[in-house]
């Protein structure tokens, strides 16, 4: 019933790079699809009207990289809480990484994630299957069956694919199914025991560092294997100047490489670790100002295709411990838009249009997902947000179970007012 109620988004700035759309107008949703858009649209009988004056109406954001922890750690996140947090952050679709317990490395596990995602009735949840069985880096998982069950990509994220031969095989085999192979780039012997970026801050704090080269060595290996195989390699959470230079090198040669960066790597440096702040501990670690600037520029010029959150909730008990023993990862679904607006758009590095391209259009396109567009006739996965609204980050107010954010107490700009999936309102704060 409510599913089929018409929704009229009235007077917002319709901004959709996928159809070169940027102008104030109305957008009508009927039967879950974009029925009409642009200009003034009369209110159909019984339609819910949302006044979007001063708001941006954008294709819903798509996160190709998050950790929803179910099955295994339902105490820190479930697919339900994660999907709701995603909707609150303006995401209409998220891709769940397979490093669950048990690992999402078979068709039954993929089906479970999909089922829980549908039941959540919030952002769409797409499973990513493991590259190797148990993420052990030894035997390929059954890509075909997982894709048939609904997986949209494969990744051993959280762990790098150490064996170059396995990575080669994965890239070759994935071609049959037309899915990207997403890799967590980290040379494990260089990174072993590391707790933060290797530099002056790590030397001062007495913490074992992870050099930028640990990421870059694997990035170039993967790019070269993509050249060898013709398979689509997607490099997760790129964080260093060297990495983006290598990706640029690969793209200039037509190698099928795409890459993502995370809001935290676009906004914070390793200085955030000062005081042994475990909410600034993640992998890859926060890097230097030079790296942040280089990755920002790569987002601008398209070397970095998508911005993904790497949302990684952890229990407070796990984070409240000595830095070297605390787990890696921070939450990101409910701050991604604001961090990106604050550090990238307000600072003049990219336009709102480019931000929407990186957060909505490109991720949907690269992972072959519905959405990422406002085109007429497509599913109405839409985010309405106010890019100027300032708000103070209060971790206690998040819908995610995680509280592990380095942005707590910060004043950020850009707030989601309403999120619609299939034309249904799954999150709304605006009047």
């Amino acid at each position: 019933m409510t599913e089929h109620r018409d929704v009229l988004l009235k007077g917002g700035r319709l901004l959709d790079p996928s159809s070169n759309l940027d102008g104030v107008g109305d957008l009508l949703i009927r039967n879950g699809k974009v029925e009409a858009l642009g200009g003034t649209i009369g209110t159909p009988d019984g339609a819910e009207v949302i006044n979007c004056a001063g708001q941006v109406v954008s294709p819903g954001f798509v996160d190709v990289h998050c950790h929803l922890r179910e099955p295994g750690r339902e105490d820190v996140e479930t697919i339900l809480t994660g999907a709701r947090a995603a909707a609150a952050g303006g995401f209409t679709a998220v891709c769940a990484m397979p490093n669950t317990d048990p690992v999402t490395d078979n068709q039954a596990a993929v089906g479970f994630v999909l089922k829980q995602g549908r039941a959540a009735n919030a952002a769409r949840v797409y499973p990513i299957g493991a590259i190797s069985i148990g993420q052990q880096g030894e035997r390929l998982a059954e890509f075909g069956e997982m894709v048939h069950a609904g997986a949209v990509a494969v990744s051993d994220d959280g762990r790098p694919v150490v064996s170059a031969q396995l990575m080669r095989t994965a890239l070759e085999y994935a071609r049959t199914f037309g899915i990207p192979v997403a890799d967590h780039c980290e040379e494990p012997t260089l990174a072993a025991g590391g707790a933060m970026h290797e530099g002056f801050v790590s030397a001062r704090l007495g913490l074992k560092g992870i050099p930028a080269e640990a990421e870059e060595i694997m990035a170039i290996r993967d790019i070269l294997l993509a050249r060898l195989t013709g398979g689509h390699v997607h490099l997760c959470h790129m964080s260093t100047k060297g990495s983006v230079e290598l990706i640029r090198w690969g793209k200039e040669r037509g190698i099928p490489v795409t890459a993502e960066a995370c809001p935290h790597h676009l906004s914070l440096t390793d200085a955030a670790v000062e005081g042994y702040n475990t909410n600034a501990k993640m992998n890859p670690p926060l890097r230097t100002a030079v790296d942040v600037e280089a990755v920002q520029q790569a987002v601008k010029d398209g070397t970095i295709d998508v911005i993904a959150t790497d949302h990684a909730p952890h229990h407070n008990d796990d984070k409240q411990r000595e830095f070297s023993d605390a787990p890696n990862g921070i939450i990101g679904l409910e701050t991604a838009l604001a961090v990106n607006v604050t550090w990238l758009v307000k600072s003049g590095i990219i336009s709102l249009g480019t931000l929407i391209e990186r957060m909505a259009c490109a991720p949907a396109r690269l992972f072959g997902l519905p959405g990422g567009t406002l085109r007429r006739g497509t599913a109405a996965d839409i985010t309405v947000f106010d890019p100027d609204q300032a708000w103070t980050v209060d971790p206690k107010a998040f819908l995610t179970k995680g509280r592990n954010t380095p942005y707590g107490g910060r004043i950020l700009h850009g707030r989601v007012g309403c999120t619609l999936v299939d034309g249904r309102i799954v999150f709304k704060t605006m009047g």
């Binding site: 290797e198 530099g199 002056f200 790590s202 030397a203 001062r204 704090l205 007495g206 913490l207 074992k208 560092g209 050099p211 005081g275 042994y276 008990d317 796990d318 409240q320 411990r321 000595e322 830095f323 070297s324 023993d325 605390a326």
Partner: protein, 321 residues
């Protein structure tokens, strides 16, 4: 003047030159207490100090315990080794339990960098860092500085080279911060595999060859070379380390001036330092140990919120007891 150092002593990086000088000046008269037949002043009578050692230590723990007892504090020693899995919970819970027992000060030694600060942020008691991971060991840095200052009169312009495994050394970090704040010139020397890649950012000179360090320095602080560094592959062998970086009589004989030799202990004789040097005329290694007690007394005293001027008075008053 109350609590001139703040609540805790976690490291030397964030202390001012004035605060460091205050500790050293306070330590000077306190040295004398340990020379007496009755080595005790009532300064910290009624105060409870917990020595919380999560990592094996003999000399630092004993030095702190002497310092506490000579100031008449009540002390409790807790030596606990925790597996890395339960460490975090143990430390949070330990903090809460200690606080509930109404103690005044905690001296903590822990294998994780930042552990002392972690504890300090969670309890109201004063916390003294007795070595946290590879971060800092401030009282060791202070006793090294007191030793040098007593020999040289001043640290200004004096050249001190730290030799060895700087990468894993909390002593090195505390030395670098403290010495540079007090005007000394600081250098480090060791295999590059045992120096932080960002070492130059500390504002120190770097020598690749120990011969260059010896030619340059007024004093060498020779770090302990742990056997694990060889098994972990940082250096090929202890034997070669001694041949390339060992502080030997032969090397020191070629120095253009007398060089003071320090070592934070425990020594690996024949590895980073030869016995002839350790026991030789220019070694101040045992002075360091003596000064360690005085420096720790000074830190306890200052953190307890006492005015430094009273240190001398307290000594005088009790000298007649």
């Amino acid at each position: 003047m109350s609590a001139p150092l703040g609540k805790d002593l976690l490291g030397l990086e964030h202390l001012s030159a004035e605060q460091i000088t205050l500790i050293l000046d306070t330590a000077e008269p306190l040295r004398e207490i340990s020379e007496r037949a009755i080595k005790k002043v009532p300064t910290l009578r009624g105060a409870t100090v917990v020595n919380l050692f999560f990592e094996a230590s003999t000399r630092t723990r004993i030095s702190f315990e002497f310092a506490e007892k000579r100031m008449s504090a009540d002390t409790v020693n807790v030596a606990t080794s925790a597996s890395s899995v339960i460490k975090g919970e143990t430390l949070v819970d330990t903090a809460k339990n200690l606080e509930a027992m109404k103690i005044d000060m905690v001296v903590i030694r822990h294998a994780s960098s930042g552990a002392a600060r972690f504890l300090a942020e969670r309890i109201e008691s004063n916390v003294i860092n007795a070595g946290d991971g590879t971060h800092e060991h401030p009282t060791q840095g202070l006793l090294d500085m007191l030793t040098l200052r007593r020999r040289f009169g001043t640290l200004v312009g004096k050249r001190v080279c730290i030799v060895g495994d700087v990468l894993h050394s909390r002593v090195a970090r505390s030395n670098i911060w403290g010495l540079t704040k007090l005007g000394a010139e600081v250098a480090v020397c060791g295999p590059r595999s045992l120096l932080p890649t960002a070492i130059a950012d500390f504002g120190v000179q770097v020598f690749d060859r120990v011969e260059q360090a010896i030619e340059w320095a007024d004093a060498l602080n020779v770090l302990r070379l742990q056997l694990e560094r060889m098994t972990a592959g940082y250096i090929p062998s202890l034997r070669e380390y001694n041949r390339v970086f060992g502080i030997t009589r032969e090397r020191l004989d070629r120095a253009p001036r007398d060089i003071l030799i320090m070592h934070p202990g425990p020594m690996n004789r024949g590895v980073e330092i030869d016995s002839e040097v350790a026991d030789g005329p220019h070694s101040v290694i045992l002075d360091q140990v003596t000064n360690g007690v005085a420096v720790r007394m000074a830190v306890l005293y200052l953190l307890a919120g006492n005015a430094p001027a009273l240190a001398e008075a307290a000594r005088k008053a009790t000298a007649d007891d």
